[in-house]
């Protein structure tokens, strides 16, 4: 009994940690930049495949890839925002129009990245084994790689939270999220902050990708699934709330783990049911005002 519960809870925390990471990224991009970035999952996919290739071809440790993929995707995200979304923001007549246009533009980005990945890596399902030693926790068995993923997900999430609440740049980001106009008047370089936010969202994808590749199989078309989960978590936590996304990620991971224990086929259905009920009963999410 205890073993089963431990199995479900720790399993749920592992997926939950990943969900939290990817949701924080999306939350930042939408909450501050108003870009519902549906290509978020493609950034995760780039991270996962880069890690795979580096490991299989050059034997570079997936944990080292975290430090390579993160910054690389940050720069990519920063540049995409600077060239594409900032321009859209300047030309759109209102923020609502911008939301619609940026949603469509990110679909374009999704198609481009996914197709490039299909050309480079083909449509095969891939995976590798890394640190799969069994570890016994009070009778429940887990492999080392899964526990490492949980550890890194928690550390990165906490680190990011501290960055947002304790640093000057974090303060500027939160100011821009609350009121871009006033933030700009108080000397925040809003264009820079928005691009940094989008880049940070991509950075989170760049951290999630390598971790996902360590414990799950990957394909070039895997992005959409993670984007959808990120959207569900962001709504669960409250649109734009970083803390909400972190907590929401772990909650959804636990729910998924419980449902999977009874019927693996129903976990996605359960996510959607929660999602829809939540939108109907409390659309502002758990942390929303």
């Amino acid at each position: 009994m205890l073993t089963t519960i431990l199995d479900i809870v720790i399993g749920g925390l592992i997926t939950g940690g990943i969900y939290a990471l990817i949701a924080v990224g999306l939350s930042l991009q939408y909450g501050v930049g108003r870009v519902l970035n549906v290509s978020h999952g493609e950034f995760i996919m780039i991270g996962a495949f880069a890690t795979y290739s580096l490991y299989v071809l050059f034997g570079i440790s997936p944990l080292l890839s975290l430090v390579i993929c993160g910054p690389f995707l940050f720069i990519l995200g920063f540049l995409i925002h600077r060239t594409l979304f900032q321009r859209l923001r300047d030309t759109s007549e209102s923020i609502d129009v911008f939301e619609g246009n940026s949603l469509l533009a990110s679909f374009g980005v999704l198609f481009i990245i996914q197709n490039l990945a299909l050309i480079i890596w083909k449509a095969n399902i891939r995976g590798y084994t890394y640190l799969v030693y069994p570890v016994n926790i009070f009778g429940a068995t887990f492999t080392t790689n899964r526990l490492i993923v949980l550890l890194f997900a928690v550390v990165i999430s906490l680190g990011f939270y501290i960055f947002l609440t304790r640093t000057r740049l974090g303060k500027a980001i939160r100011a821009a999220a609350q009121d871009p106009t006033t933030a700009a008047l108080s000397g925040v370089n809003i264009k820079q902050v928005l691009a940094i936010c989008f880049g940070l969202g991509a950075l989170m994808a760049g951290f999630a990708g390598p971790l996902i590749s360590m414990i799950y199989q990957i394909t070039p078309t895997m992005g959409m699934e993670y984007t959808i989960i990120a959207i569900i978590v962001v709504v669960l936590g409250g649109l734009g709330s970083i803390t909400g996304s972190l907590i929401g990620g772990f909650i959804l991971g636990l729910i998924g783990s419980i449902v999977t224990h009874f019927d693996p086929g129903l976990s996605l259905v359960a996510y959607y049911v929660i999602f829809i009920l939540l939108l109907l009963v409390r659309p502002t999410g758990i942390m929303g005002k």
Binding site: E99, V109, L118, I228, G265, L266, Y272, I276, L279, P283
Partner: protein, 317 residues
Amino acid sequence: MDIIGGIFKRFRVPRLIILILLILLATLPLYAPGYTVILLTAILMYIILTVSWTIFSGPTRYISLASAAFFGVGVYTMAILGKALPLAAIISIGALVSFILALFIGFLTLRLRGMYFIIFTFGISELIKHSLLWWETNMTGTVGRWVVRVDHDQVYYIMLAIFVVLMLTAYFIRHSRFGLALKSIGQSEEAAAHRGINVTLVKVVAFAISALFMGAAGAIMATRWAYIDPRIAFNPLLSFMPVMMAIFGGMGQLYGPVIGAAVFTYLAEILMTRFAYYYMLIFGSVLVLAILYLPNGLIGLLQKWRKRGTAEQQAST
């Protein structure tokens, strides 16, 4: 130039063009090769999805991503009833089921606006897809279903008929008090309510009417595909495409979404057959460029050209 312009005005050329186009479309299977008929069926399908999406989402500015749900319900109606009933009856039932589903979703989503509405409509069609997927694997044991085959020309004619009825409906809605009510909801929902418009009813009815045509198109398209499963019938692309096509074409005029869908589908078809490998890459680039440089759609571009043309004319005289 002036003489031609005069003729255009006097004989109401748009109507004449529409008539000629309709006659051409109606007689097409008599002389065109089979491939053209199939291609046009696909184009008509996307035009139907896009125009019916625009009926609701165009004036009200509520972006719905539930098109796949209504289309898929039509597809499954055909797959389940295919052998039991005549074609016309199944298509009507498919349309009706979509209509009722849209009424239901419409009443559920009344409180949601903006991004919440977009995400909700997307969620509901994904929920239907995954529930059906689970049901088919666990209860019926087979994920996919075979659909009765129907002659290509017949599919084409039914699609054309749905298209014509849809265009007439869209035209009448646009020029009616109902259409005005929809438009005023898009501009300001509070103001519309204060004016005595039953905002809820108007929104839900428009949403259901748009679903009606999507369901009908899904039912007949199922026979073209022959084999279907939940992933095909409720493909999220079926929700995204109409939005892109409508924006690509421009929603200011009734013919904007038609042209957008026609150009987009044709482009997609050509890209898919000629550059299968780079199809999505080119498609994505076109999409990004279109949003960056054609904010008002193709129609906006045409209108800009026309304005420039008349300005030059006036300058020269």
